[in-house]
Structures are given as C-alpha cells and as structure tokens.
C-alpha cells in the first residue's frame, strides 16, 4: 500500500513540476519570440513592464484573464467553449511522455511516439470546432484551411519519423534516444528537413500559418475569440511548438545525451535551438498560399519521404542495422 502511495506521490510531484515548468516556458516563449523577432527587426521588443519587459507575459496573462468573455450571437455556445479547452488539453497532455532526462519523465510509455502523433491529431479538432462554431465566415475558412493542412501534414510528420524509428526499432522515446550513439540527423538528413517543414505546418507557423493568416483571414479560426479562451489557443500553439521541438531533439539530436553538462540541460539547449529556428523562420519568410502549400506537401514531400523510408529499409536489410 505504502509503495503505491509513494508511487502516486512521486508521479504527482513530477506532473506538477513538469506542468508548472511547461506553462511558465510557454508564457515566456511569447516573450522570447517577441524579443528575438524584435531584435531581428532592429527594434527592441517589449521594454516597459519590468526590466527589459520581463514581466510582459504576466501582464498579458492578467489582461486576457480580466477581459470580457464574448460569445458571438451566431455562434454555437457549447462547442465555442469546448474548442479552446480541447486544444489546450491536447497540447498539454503530450508533455506526459516527453523524457527530459534518462530518468525524469512523467510516464514512460512504450508507444510514446505513437501516442504523441495520435493526440496531436485530436488537437486539430479543437481548431476545426472553433472555426465552425464561431459563426463567422473568416473563422470557418480558417477552420477549413487548418483541417486540410494539419491532416495532410500529419502524414508527412509521421512518415518523416519513420526512418529514425526503423533504425531505432522501437516506439519508446527513451529507447530511441538510447539507440543514438550518433545522432540520427547524420543518418537521416532528408527526414530531418522534412520533419522541420512538416512541423512548421503542423503548428501553424510562418510560412505555413494559413489557418490564422492575419492579413487574409483577419485571425482565422480565433477571430471571434477573446479573453481567456483566446489565451488557451495561444498557450496551446506555443505548447505545441515546444512539443514539436522536443520530439525533434529526441528523435534527431539524441535527446539528453551530451558531454559534461547534465542531461536535462542538454535537452533544453537542443530544444531551444529548434524553438529559435522556428522564431527565426517566422521573422524571415512570407507566407505560402493555401493551394501551393498543399502542392508542396503532396507533390514534393510525400515522394521524398517515401523514398527516404524505402532507402532506409533497403540499407537496413543489407547491412542489418547501423
């Protein structure tokens, strides 16, 4: 009995630590993004709240928290409330299986990668529901765009992870990391590039931020949202960005492995390189058009990623693993 209790207790502590850290990181990710983009655009970013604007995320959070909650008269109340929560929950429960260190994770699932891919695709539902239930045409278009976009990019995201998976021979994230004496990016550069592009599509970031393209669809699926419900979407988006970077770290950059520094620190450094890259891309590129984006996916990336899987398979067949 005592053993069980202590198990639950440690699990709870881990959950609290991970989630608190995750939410804090997410909040400060917005700050980081604004600062990095600001400096890339020869300006400063937030400077007012606190020294160098350090308290800006908290001020933003407070503002959103106290904002009036508006539901459009044309909207469907139930789904309108439910959509942002679905989005955020799906984004946050993904943290459950991310191994930050060899030991430190909430739960070790032997089908971790599959879990992540499947839960992530449920999160899309939130966006579609939000677009539909807002009762606005702009939202509807945004929702439809994201339905098409995310469902098709899910495929490439999954396929691009297939190569490393075949080499590692397991869906368990810990085992994948342990299998990497050399990071998989060396063996799988094509898969890595495709993963990055698919990830950009998956988390709706420039150049693929079509569901919320602010210059075309005003704000896409969250045009009608305000206050805390908007904040949920916002948090979910940034949480997804962390998740995607974490997976890239685990699968392609050998997770927590690295000399001298402790494992979790290596993990964070690698993860933030990806996050920085995503922000950097946002500061640089224009936005693709919806049909062009689909064309890239189905006509260029799908053949490439299938060829990658095929070549990997052939090599494994003849050499018998690396």
């Amino acid at each position: 009995m005592d053993v069980l209790m202590s198990d639950i207790l440690t699990a709870l502590i881990r959950i609290i630590v991970v989630f608190a850290l995750a939410l804090l990181t997410v909040a400060y990710l917005t700050y980081l993004e604004r600062k990095v983009i600001g400096h890339m655009q020869v300006r400063m970013g937030p400077m007012r709240v606190g020294p160098h604007g350090l308290l800006q995320p908290i001020a933003d959070g407070l503002k959103l928290f106290f904002k009036e909650d508006i539901v459009p008269t044309e909207g469907y109340r139930l789904t309108f409330y439910f959509a942002p929560i679905l989005c955020l929950v799906c984004a946050l429960i993904l943290f459950a299986v991310i191994p930050f260190d060899a030991k430190f994770m909430i739960s070790r699932l032997n089908i971790g990668l599959l879990y992540i891919l499947s839960i992530a695709s449920v999160g899309v539902m939130g966006i579609i529901l939000a677009g539909w239930s807002s009762g606005s045409k702009y939202s509807l278009l945004g929702g439809l765009r994201s339905a098409a976009q995310i469902f098709s990019y899910e495929i490439f995201l999954g396929f691009s992870l297939m190569g490393p998976l075949m080499i590692a021979g397991s869906l368990d994230l810990v085992k994948i990391v342990e299998a990497q004496s050399v990071p998989f990016i060396v063996y799988q550069p094509v898969a890595f590039v495709i993963y990055l592009i698919a990830a950009l599509g998956e988390i709706n970031r420039v150049p693929f931020d079509l569901p919320e393209a602010e210059s075309e669809l005003v704000a896409g699926f969250h045009t009608e949202y305000s206050g805390m419900k908007f904040a949920y979407f916002f948090l979910a988006e940034y949480a997804n960005m962390i998740i995607v970077s974490a997976i890239a770290t685990i699968v392609f950059l050998a997770g927590w492995k690295g000399p001298i520094l402790p494992g979790w620190m290596w993990f964070l450094i690698k993860m933030f390189i990806f996050i920085y890259f995503f922000i950097w891309v946002r500061a640089t590129f224009p936005r693709y058009r919806y049909d062009q984006f689909m064309r890239i996916g189905w006509k260029i990336m799908l053949p490439l990623v299938l060829a990658n899987i095929f070549v990997t398979g052939v090599v494994i067949l003849f050499i018998g693993g690396y």
């Binding site: 600001g38 890339m40 020869v42 400077m47 640089t284």
Partner: protein, 147 residues
C-alpha cells in the same frame, strides 16, 4: 536546380535577419527619451514677446485669422496703427492643421512655432488657447515619464 534544392534563396534571407539580430536596435523609447525636433518643426503656436518684454509683438491686424484654412484663429484688437494690440487672441488647436500659414503671413513676426507636439488631450477645452495661455512657457506642458 541544385541552387533550388539547397534553398540558397531562403538561406540568404535567414542570413540577413540573423545579421541584424546582432546589430544595435534603432528604437527610441519614446516617453522616456525624446528626440529634439528640428528648428523648423511646426508644433504648437505661440505669441512672441517684444524685445523689451513689454508685451506681445502682435498688432491684431487679423491677417492670420483670414489666411487660416481651418478658421481656428480669432483676433480682436484695440488701438490704432502701431499702438494696436490684441485683446482677444484665441487659437483652437483642436481644429488647427499646423500648416503654418499664420506664421508665414504675419507682417511683424508676432507668431512662432514651438517644438511642443504632445497635443493629445482628454479635455477638449485644454486645446482652446487664449491670449494668456499662448504666452506661457510651453516646456511646462510636456509630459514627463517616471523611469
């Protein structure tokens, strides 16, 4: 083809933004630090004083009121010839478009521009300047921002 596959065009862009990431920002933190406008800057208008500080130079000829495209100046004077002086001189800065015609047309240089530009006000009445307010030191209206 090779260039396209290696994404040279995209990398050029990424390099440029990365370069600017390490340069100094050009931002001016506005209420904390303010740029000094150039001498010709057309800010709020005020009445100039005579050299011996015995009053305003204005002779209330009404040229400015006639020339003003937005009809925001009201002048009434007393006295005759060179002795004429204004009794009423109102400028409605909520209507003023800062074109500078009044300053340009004045035969005695009785009006001049200040470098004061922070004319956003909650109270519309504050922007209705009368003859006394037009002679005040504009520096005291400047908003200060505590650091």
């Amino acid at each position: 083809m090779v260039k396209k596959a290696l994404m040279v065009d995209l990398i050029t862009g990424l390099r440029r933004t990365f370069y600017y990431f390490f340069t100094k920002p050009i931002t001016v933190q506005y209420p904390k630090e303010k740029l000094q406008p150039f001498p010709r800057f057309r800010g709020f208008i005020r009445l100039t004083q005579k050299e011996d500080a015995s009053g305003v130079k204005c002779i209330a000829c009404g040229m400015c009121a006639r020339e003003c495209p937005s009809q925001c100046i009201e002048v009434k004077g007393e006295g005759k010839g060179k002795e004429r002086y204004p009794v009423v001189f109102n400028i409605d800065f909520s209507r003023c478009i800062y074109c500078g015609f009044c300053v340009e047309v004045c035969p005695v240089g009785g009006l001049e521009f200040t470098s004061f530009y922070e004319g956003a006000e909650y109270d519309l009445e504050w922007l209705h300047f009368d003859i006394a307010k037009l002679q005040e030191d504009y520096k005291k209206w400047e908003r200060t921002f505590k650091k």
